[in-house]
C-alpha cells in the first residue's frame, strides 16, 4: 500500500512523457507539405490586419521580418485564455476556459511541489524558511483554485454535451467518459484537500519523496490515508490517459499553427528546400482514376509532366 501512490506516479509520468514525445515525433516526421497558410500569420509585422510579405512587390528580394514576439503573444493568449474560443463561441468558452485554466493551475501546483521537493533536498534550510512558506501558499492557491476551476469547467462541459443538441449528435461515449474522469479525479483531489490535507502538507511530503526517490509511507490511516492515495492514483491515471487520446490536441495544435497556419516560408530558388522537394516528387503514385493511371511505378514528376495534348 505504501508504494502504490509512488509507483502510480512514476508510471503515469513515464507514460505521459513517452506518449507526448512519441506524438510530437510522429507529427514532426511527416513529410513537407504544400503551403497552406491562413492569415493573420502571427509573426508577420502586418499581423494586426492580417497582411503578409506578399503585399510587397519583388518580395523575394527583400528581407522578411519575422516577429517572434508576435508569435509568442498570439500563442500565449491562445493557450492561456483560449481567445479564439472566447471570440467565436463564448458559451463554450465559459466552460472550456475554467476547465483548461484549472488544468494549468493544477500543473503549476504540481511543478511547484516537485520543484519545492527538489529544493528541499538540495537546500533544506531554504525551504524551511519564508521561501518554503511562499511556495506552500502558491501550491495551495494553484492547487485549490485549479482543482475547483477544473471541476466546475468539466461539469459545465458535461452539461453542455449532454443537453445541447448541437453537440450531442457529435459526442462519442468517450467524450463523456473523459469529462467524467476529470470530474472524479479532480473531485477526489478536492475532497482530499478539504477533508485531509488543508495545507497541502501531505501532498508536498509526497512530492518531496517522489523527486528524491524515498517512497516513504504517507501518514495516517483510513480515509486520512486512502483519500490522498486515491487522488494520486486518479490524477496519475488521468495524466497517463490524456496523451493517449484526442485530448493530446495540445501537441497537434502546435503543429497546426506552426507548420500550417503560420508557415509562410517561401521556397526560394536554389534554397534549402529544393532538394527535399525533388525527393518528394520522385515518389511513386498509385492513384487509380483514368486521368492519372498511377501504377505505383510512375512518380509525381511523370504524372505531372504528362502531355495531355497527345
Amino acid at each position: 500500500m505504501d508504494l502504490v501512490p509512488y509507483v502510480a506516479a512514476y508510471i503515469a509520468i513515464g507514460i505521459f512523457v513517452v506518449a507526448v514525445v512519441a506524438r510530437f515525433l510522429m507529427w514532426r516526421k511527416l513529410p513537407m507539405h504544400v503551403r497552406w497558410e491562413l492569415y493573420p500569420v502571427a509573426h508577420d509585422k502586418r499581423a494586426a490586419y492580417g497582411g503578409s510579405y506578399l503585399e510587397e512587390t519583388n518580395w523575394w528580394t527583400k528581407p522578411r521580418e519575422r516577429s517572434l514576439s508576435g508569435e509568442v503573444k498570439a500563442m500565449s493568449a491562445e493557450i492561456l485564455f483560449l481567445v479564439a474560443l472566447k471570440e467565436h463561441n463564448p458559451k463554450m468558452w465559459s466552460r472550456s476556459f475554467p476547465f483548461h485554466f484549472g488544468l494549468y493551475l493544477v500543473i503549476a501546483a504540481t511543478c511547484l511541489m516537485l520543484g519545492g521537493g527538489l529544493l528541499a533536498a538540495i537546500s533544506p534550510s531554504l525551504m524551511a524558511g519564508g521561501f518554503g512558506k511562499l511556495i506552500q501558499y502558491a501550491v495551495i492557491g494553484c492547487g485549490v483554485g485549479g482543482l475547483g476551476l477544473g471541476l466546475l469547467g468539466a461539469l459545465g462541459l458535461l452539461e453542455r454535451r449532454l443537453t445541447d443538441p448541437e453537440l450531442k449528435d457529435f459526442t462519442s461515449p468517450a467524450d463523456l467518459f473523459n469529462l467524467v474522469f476529470f470530474v472524479i479525479a479532480f473531485g477526489t483531489a478536492l475532497a482530499s484537500f478539504a477533508l485531509v490535507d488543508r495545507d497541502f502538507g501531505r501532498a508536498m511530503f509526497f512530492a518531496h519523496n517522489l523527486v528524491t526517490f524515498k517512497m516513504a509511507a504517507l501518514p495516517g490511516e483510513g480515509m486520512q490515508l486512502y483519500l490522498p492515495v486515491a487522488s494520486v492514483v486518479l490524477l496519475g491515471a488521468l495524466c497517463a490517459y490524456i496523451p493517449l487520446t484526442h485530448m493530446s490536441h495540445f501537441v497537434g495544435k502546435f503543429f497546426a499553427y506552426h507548420a500550417i497556419r503560420w508557415n509562410d516560408e517561401p521556397n526560394l530558388k536554389g534554397g534549402h528546400e529544393e532538394k527535399a522537394i525533388h525527393a518528394l516528387l520522385g515518389q511513386p503514385v498509385s492513384w487509380a482514376a483514368s486521368h492519372i493511371k498511377g501504377d505505383g511505378k510512375k512518380n509525381w514528376v511523370d504524372v505531372a509532366t504528362e502531355d495531355l495534348r497527345k
Binding site: 507539405h33 491562413l38 490586419y49 497582411g51 510579405y53 506578399l54 512587390t57 515518389q283 492513384w287
Partner: protein
C-alpha cells in the same frame, strides 16, 4: 425546415436530407425583406433521384445511382482505397500533415459552424455545418481504416449512400477556410472537404464536369478552359485592343511572347470572353506606367486558371508546371496574375513547394503591382470620375489565404473621391466568400445556380446591401461592387441577375483596374459602362 436529425441519417435516409425554402432563411436587408416575393430554389426535374445521387435540393456531380449490389460495394471499396492512399506519404505528401491533424483532433465544439456563410444562410440547417461532412469522414477513417473503437470515436454506417452523399456534400463548401480561422484547435474543415473531393477525383474518377472535363482537362488538352487555343486567344485580344483603344483613347496594346520582359501577366481567360474591359484596363495601366510586360501564347499559359486547386493535386501540379514552364521559356523576371484569386493562390502559394530550379520563377500578386504604379504618380488620376458609392469584396484566395489586404485599399483611396468608398463588414481576412469559391461560380448544372444564390452567395449579397444601406436603392444611383477576381465577378454577376439587383436597385460590379482606368484623366470619360453586364 427539412434537415437531418443526426449525422447518422446520411447513410440511412432514403429521402433527400435537406430542403430549404425562403421562409427558413434569415430575411435579407432592405429593400428585399422577408423573401416572400423572391423565387424559391427550382425543384429538380422529376425522376432525377432515380438516375443520380440526390443529397438535398440540388445536384453538383451526377453520381449515378448504383444499379446493383456489386456497384454499391465497388463505390464503397474505391472510396476506402482512396482514403488509404490519402494517408500515405507517397500519394499525398502534399497535404498529409494538415489532413491528419484535422482528422485526429476535432474537439467537436461547433465553434466553426457560425463562421460559415452557407450554414448561416441555410437557416442553420445541420447538413451544412462545416463539421457535418468532416465528422462522417472522420468516423469512416477511425472505424473502417484505422480500426479504432466506436466508443472512442463514434459510429457511422458505411454504405454506398454514405460515400456518394459525402462526396456530393463536399461540393456544398466553398473551401473559403473562414471556419478554419475560428477553430481553437486549428482543424480545417475546408481541407477535409477538399480531401474528400480529392479521393473522389484521383481514385474514383468522380468530379464536377465543369471543373474537370470542361475545366482542367480542357485546359491541359487545348490550352484554356474556355476552349480557346492560342490562335483564337490572340484573335480575341486583337479585337479587344482595337475596341478599347478607341473607347479610351489610351494605348491598350498587348505584347505577346516578349522575351526577357519584366512581367509575364497571366489572365484568367474567362476575362477575355466575359470581361474584355478588364484585360484592356491592365494593358492601359501597364502601358501608361511604362511597364515592361508580356502575355504568353504558350500552351495553357494564356489562361491562369488552375481548377485542380479545388479538387485534384495531379491536375493542379500539371497546370502549375505548364504555367511556370512558359515563364521560364520567356525568361521573364516574374509572373504577375490578373484579377483571379485562385490563380494567385495556386501558383504563388500552393505550387511554391512544387516548383524548383528554373521553374521557380518569382510570382507576385496584381494588387501590390497596381498599388506601386498608382502611388508612383505615373498615372494622372481624377478620382471625381468615380463619383459613385463603391464597396470592396475581398477574394478569399489572395486575402485570407495570402495576406494581400492593403494594396487594393491604398489604390481605392487614390481612385475614388472622399467618402465614396465604404467597407463591407466584416472585411479583409475575415471577409465572407462571394459564394462562387471552389468552382461553384462555374457550376450550374440542374438547379445548382439556384442553390448557390440561395445559400452560398446570399451572405455576400447581404453584406453588399448593408454596405449600401444609406444610398438610394435605384438604378438612377449606380453603386459599384469592386470584386478584383474573375470567379467572384462571375458569382456576383449571377447573383445580381438572380435578385435583379441592377435593374431594381442599381447594384453593379467590376474589377479594380476598371476603376483605375475610369479615373485616368487622359482617358476618354466613361470607361465604366454600367450596362456592360
Amino acid at each position: 425546415m427539412k434537415a437531418p436529425k443526426s449525422i447518422k441519417d446520411l447513410p440511412r435516409s432514403d429521402e433527400p436530407l435537406a430542403h430549404i425554402v425562403n421562409a427558413d432563411q434569415p430575411p435579407l436587408p432592405k429593400p428585399y425583406g422577408n423573401g416572400a416575393e423572391l423565387p424559391e430554389i427550382a425543384p429538380l426535374k422529376a425522376g432525377t433521384a432515380d438516375k443520380v445521387v440526390v443529397l438535398d435540393d440540388t445536384v453538383a456531380l451526377n453520381i449515378p445511382v448504383p444499379k446493383n449490389k456489386e456497384e454499391e460495394d465497388a463505390l464503397v471499396q474505391k472510396f476506402l482505397s482512396g482514403l488509404r492512399k490519402c494517408l500515405t506519404a507517397e500519394n499525398n505528401w502534399t497535404f498529409l500533415q494538415p489532413f491528419l491533424l484535422s482528422l485526429e483532433h476535432c474537439a467537436k465544439c461547433q465553434t466553426c459552424s457560425d463562421a460559415c456563410h452557407i450554414y448561416e444562410e441555410s437557416g442553420k440547417n445541420p447538413l451544412y455545418r462545416p463539421t457535418y461532412r468532416s465528422e462522417i469522414f472522420r468516423r469512416i477513417y477511425f472505424k473502417y481504416v484505422k480500426g479504432g473503437s466506436t466508443f472512442t470515436h463514434g459510429d457511422i454506417d458505411l454504405n454506398w449512400k454514405t460515400v456518394a452523399r459525402l462526396i456530393e456534400l463536399a461540393y456544398r463548401c466553398n473551401l473559403c477556410r473562414r471556419c478554419a480561422q475560428t477553430c481553437p484547435i486549428g482543424v480545417d474543415n475546408a481541407l477535409m472537404a477538399r480531401e474528400i473531393r480529392k479521393i473522389a477525383s484521383q481514385e474514383m474518377g468522380i468530379q464536377s464536369k465543369e471543373c474537370h472535363d470542361n475545366g482542367s482537362m480542357l485546359q491541359l488538352k487545348v490550352g484554356s478552359s474556355t476552349g480557346m487555343n492560342a490562335l483564337v486567344v490572340k484573335d480575341n485580344i486583337e479585337f479587344i485592343v482595337e475596341d478599347m483603344t478607341e473607347k479610351t483613347g489610351l494605348d491598350c496594346s498587348i505584347p505577346w511572347d516578349k522575351e526577357g520582359a519584366e512581367i509575364l501577366l497571366m489572365h484568367n481567360a474567362g476575362e477575355i470572353m466575359a470581361w474584355p474591359e478588364n484585360v484592356a484596363a491592365f494593358a492601359a495601366i501597364f502601358n501608361a506606367a511604362g511597364v515592361s510586360w508580356t502575355l504568353s501564347s504558350e500552351h495553357a499559359a494564356y489562361d491562369s486558371i488552375n481548377y485542380g486547386t479545388w479538387y485534384d493535386d495531379v491536375q493542379f501540379a500539371r497546370t502549375a508546371i505548364l504555367h511556370a514552364k512558359a515563364a521560364a521559356k520567356l525568361k521573364v523576371k516574374k509572373i504577375v496574375f490578373g484579377e483571379c484569386g485562385h490563380a494567385h493562390k495556386a501558383l504563388t502559394v500552393i505550387a511554391d513547394k512544387v516548383l524548383t530550379g528554373d521553374l521557380n520563377v518569382p510570382r507576385e500578386a496584381a494588387m501590390p503591382v497596381l498599388r506601386d504604379i498608382v502611388m508612383s504618380g505615373k498615372l494622372k488620376l481624377d478620382p471625381s470620375r468615380n463619383d459613385f458609392p463603391v464597396t470592396l469584396h475581398d477574394p478569399c484566395n489572395y486575402v485570407r489565404l495570402m495576406g494581400v489586404v492593403m494594396p487594393q485599399r491604398e489604390v481605392m483611396k487614390k481612385v475614388t473621391p472622399p467618402g465614396r468608398f465604404r467597407e463591407m463588414e466584416p472585411h479583409g481576412v475575415h471577409n465572407y466568400c462571394c459564394g462562387g469559391g471552389s468552382g461553384f461560380a462555374i457550376m450550374s448544372g440542374h438547379n445548382f445556380g439556384d442553390w448557390r444564390h440561395h445559400l452560398s452567395g446570399r451572405k455576400k449579397l447581404r453584406q453588399v446591401l448593408e454596405a449600401f444601406k444609406n444610398e438610394p436603392m435605384d438604378k438612377e444611383h449606380p453603386k459599384y461592387i469592386c470584386a478584383p477576381c474573375s470567379n467572384c465577378k462571375g458569382q456576383l454577376r449571377d447573383i445580381i441577375n438572380y435578385y435583379d439587383a441592377w435593374e431594381k436597385h442599381g447594384i453593379g460590379y467590376g474589377g479594380l483596374v476598371e476603376l483605375i482606368v475610369n479615373a485616368m484623366a487622359d482617358a476618354k470619360p466613361g470607361f465604366i459602362d454600367w450596362e456592360w453586364h
